[in-house]
C-alpha cells in the first residue's frame, strides 16, 4: 500500500518524512501520511504555503503494526475506550478535561504505544471536492500517523504543485 507525505517545496528534496510536532496534530508527534493522493494535494495547496509550492512524496512500508481505527471495528472500539478511559481519569481526579496534546503526551511519555508502529485514523475533509454529494460526507479522509520511521521501505518524490 502506498501513502503520501506532503511538504512545502524546498531547494533540495527530502530523503525522508518530516515529523509533525505541532500541538494540534491529531495523534501527537509523528510522521503523517495521507492515504488518498487528492487529500495530499489539497493539504499541500491549502496548508503548505510557505514557499508557494508544495511537494508530495510517495512512501511504502515494511510490515506495519498499525492500530487500525478506520477499518477494524475491534481496534476502533479499543481506541475509543482507551482515550475515554484516560480522559475520564483526568476529569474525575483533577477536574480538568485534557487537551488533545496532553492525551498524546501522556500516551507517549508513558510508552503506552511503544509496540505500535502507527495509527490509522480518519477525520472529516474540508476539501470542497472531497465529496461529490453536497452535504453528504460519505467518504473517509484517512491518515497514517507513523511513529516508527524504520518501517519506511521506500520514500520518493512523486508530485509538485502550486499553492492556491
Amino acid at each position: 500500500m502506498e501513502y503520501y507525505h506532503t511538504q512545502e517545496k524546498r531547494n533540495e528534496k527530502i530523503t525522508g518524512p518530516i515529523m509533525c510536532t505541532k500541538d494540534n496534530a491529531w495523534l501527537g508527534n509523528a510522521y503523517y501520511f495521507w492515504e488518498d493522493k487528492s487529500d495530499a494535494i489539497y493539504w499541500g495547496s491549502s496548508s503548505k504555503r510557505k514557499t508557494g509550492k508544495y511537494e508530495i512524496y510517495k512512501a511504502q512500508f515494511a510490515e506495519l503494526n498499525v492500530l487500525d481505527t478506520v477499518f477494524n471495528r475491534l481496534e476502533y472500539e479499543f481506541f475509543v475506550k482507551q482515550i475515554e478511559k484516560i480522559s475520564i481519569k483526568f476529569i474525575k481526579t483533577t477536574g480538568f478535561k485534557p487537551t488533545l496534546k496532553e492525551i498524546n503526551d501522556y500516551l507517549m511519555e508513558n510508552n503506552v504505544l511503544s509496540e505500535v508502529d502507527g495509527i490509522l485514523f480518519q477525520d472529516i475533509s474540508s476539501n470542497p471536492h472531497h465529496y461529490l454529494v453536497r452535504g453528504m460526507q460519505y467518504k473517509k479522509r484517512i491518515q497514517l500517523a507513523l511513529y516508527n520511521r524504520n518501517k519506511i521501505s521506500t520514500f520518493v518524490s512523486h508530485y509538485e504543485g502550486v499553492c492556491n
Binding site: D23, N65, V66, L67, L74, E75, F78, Q82, K85, I86, K89, F90, T93, T94, F96, P98, K101, E102, D105, Y106, N110, N111, V112, L113, E115, V116
Partner: protein
C-alpha cells in the same frame, strides 16, 4: 497483529497508580514545559524603563476644533 490486551493492561496499571496529586503535577509540568517552549532558553532580564514627559499648552492649542453643524440625525439615534 497488535496485542490489544497488553496495551490495555499497561494503561490500566498506569491509571490505577495515578492520584489527584500525581495527575495535577503532570498537568502542571506539561503546561509549564509548553510555556517554556514558547519563551525559549535563557534568563530573564529586567527592562530598563524610561519616563516620557508630555507637555501641553492649553493657552495656545496646536489643533483646531471643527464647529460645523450637521443637519443629519446623529448615528446613535438609529438605535432607538
Amino acid at each position: 497483529m497488535i496485542d490489544l490486551k497488553k496495551i490495555e493492561d499497561k494503561i490500566d496499571i498506569l491509571l490505577d497508580k495515578e492520584t489527584k496529586a500525581s495527575l495535577e503535577e503532570w498537568l502542571l509540568k506539561n503546561r509549564y514545559k509548553n510555556i517554556n517552549k514558547l519563551i525559549g532558553k535563557g534568563s530573564f532580564v529586567s527592562l530598563k524603563t524610561e519616563g516620557v514627559q508630555f507637555k501641553s499648552n492649553i493657552a495656545h492649542a496646536n489643533y483646531k476644533v471643527s464647529v460645523k453643524e450637521s443637519s443629519s440625525v446623529p448615528s446613535n439615534r438609529f438605535a432607538a
